[in-house]
């Protein structure tokens, strides 16, 4: 017993303090993968069955709704593209570095529950699909988290609400930069170091600032709930609600960072043969999806 106990304690300490066990973990996780897929299967099958049984009327209504949403999204996208072009021109005028678009690839959550004390989720893309540790994950509304552990077929993602997660953010309205920490509660992030005199209001939108190099800048993160200013303290504390549906999203997007300007296009095409989507070319994708009709 003592031998096994000591071995377990040593493993825990090594795993906690160093990254030495990560390759061991990745390879051994492959043995667990069939069981994870087996648990995921019923949920997926149930969804497929309910999809098959949906009434024709309901499907038509949903189709029409999606078409309307798509139309509105495309209108906004045209506006956005002219803004991007203007931004590029201004950057050139200011001799600032140009913004290189990264690549986007869709993934899905695997319906297994991980440890309830950590805010982690499992996605069905792994090192075989080019996923790397530290990769950002977003959903349709905003930032969800970062990839922590990569196995051949799956990857574990730490959500922004995890107490160990810290995200460099920027206030969209004022440009103030700060860091948002996870609190361990799903709907809450905390910003503990806001200068007491800063212009921060409830309802302010937080976006990624791009500092630290992990997340591309400008992606929505959270909305400020309340700001607590205690007289006499140097800093105000703000609480924010993440905009991503951390506990509900099924389809998520993995982001590949912008590489250096000369080889970004080549690398993207070589490494990812089943073509991801470049953020700047979204209008092309929309046209492609319309074509089969």
């Amino acid at each position: 017993m003592v031998a096994y106990g000591m071995l377990a304690i040593i493993l825990m300490v090594v795993d906690h303090r160093a990254d030495l066990l990560t390759p061991v973990r990745s390879t051994l996780s492959l043995a667990i993968w069939p069981v994870q897929m087996a648990v995921d299967l019923p949920v997926r099958a149930g969804r497929w069955v309910s999809g098959q049984l949906a009434s024709h009327d309901a499907l038509e209504q949903q189709n029409q709704q999606l078409y309307d949403d798509l139309l509105k999204a495309r209108m906004n996208l045209h506006k956005l593209e002219s803004l991007v072009a203007e931004n590029e021109r201004l950057r050139i005028l200011l001799n600032a570095a140009a913004n290189q678009p990264g690549e986007v690839r869709a993934a899905e959550l695997i319906n297994v529950d991980l440890d309830p004390f950590r805010h982690r989720i499992l996605i069905n893309r792994g090192s075989r699909h080019g996923v790397f540790p530290g990769q950002p994950l977003v959903d349709a509304n905003g930032v969800m988290g970062q990839v922590t552990l990569v196995s051949p077929m799956t990857a574990e993602v730490m959500l922004v609400s995890d107490p160990d997660h810290a995200l460099p953010i920027q206030f969209n309205r004022t440009g103030l930069r700060s860091i948002a920490f996870g609190t361990g509660r799903t709907g809450e992030l905390q910003l503990p170091h806001i200068p007491i005199s800063a212009d921060v209001l409830g309802g302010d939108l937080l976006v990624t600032s791009g500092l630290g190099g992990h997340f591309p800048p400008g992606i929505p993160v959270a909305v400020i709930e309340r700001v607590t200013r205690t007289p006499g303290e140097t800093f105000a504390v703000a609480n924010a609600t993440p905009v991503a549906a951390l506990d509900r999203s099924r389809e998520v997007l993995l982001l590949w960072p912008q590489s250096s300007p000369d080889d970004s296009a080549d690398d993207a095409n070589q490494d990812n043969p089943d073509a991801g989507t470049t953020i700047g070319e979204s209008s092309d994708v929309l046209q492609q999806s319309e074509a089969p009709q």
């Binding site: 106990g5 906690h16 667990i32 648990v39 297994v112």
Partner: protein, 161 residues
């Protein structure tokens, strides 16, 4: 097939099913109430099949659970090794306990495991868990007689097959 009849194969299958049950998604508010399936299965197999299922099996099962749930490698291994050790130590007495007394023993073991988990999580810096954390052993103890009966029935059927 004689190995299966002696129960080793059935033990492996039961552990895999226990692992699957540990991973089945539950709504957020009841997630902490999930019973410690692998511990209960381990208690059963340590009582019934001590020559095959010992602390080595407990360690491997714990590592498998750590891999599956994304916890520190060795966290559940330690808790299952402690459970296996206690069961083996008191096995000769436990074997002849009536079902209700055995259920109380299972409750005690699961509660002890909760304390160990709380300690490990505390060392890691996690915040104190809510009250549901302490309810999970009660649910586990409640399910124990059923697990015992199901596994006994399965063993009988595989022995006479």
């Amino acid at each position: 097939m004689s190995r299966y009849r002696r129960g080793g194969g059935l033990a492996l299958v039961s552990f895999i099913i226990g692992l699957a049950l540990t991973m089945v998604p539950l709504p957020d508010n009841v997630e902490l109430l999930r019973p410690y399936w692998l511990a209960m299965l381990l208690i059963y197999w340590c009582l019934e099949l001590p020559e095959k299922i010992g602390m080595g099996a407990a360690f491997v099962a714990g590592i498998a659970m750590d891999l599956a749930t994304g916890t520190l490698l060795g966290e559940h291994a330690l808790s299952l090794v402690i459970v296996a050790f206690l069961v083996r130590r008191f096995r000769l007495r436990l074997r002849f306990f009536p079902m209700w007394q055995l259920t109380l023993v299972v409750l005690a073991l699961l509660m002890n495991d909760r304390v160990v988990t709380l300690w490990i999580n505390g060392l890691r810096g996690a915040e104190a868990p809510s009250w549901e954390f302490w309810i999970a052993p009660l649910i586990g103890a409640f399910l124990w007689p059923w697990i015992y009966l199901i596994l006994d029935r399965a063993r009988q059927r595989s022995a006479t097959a």
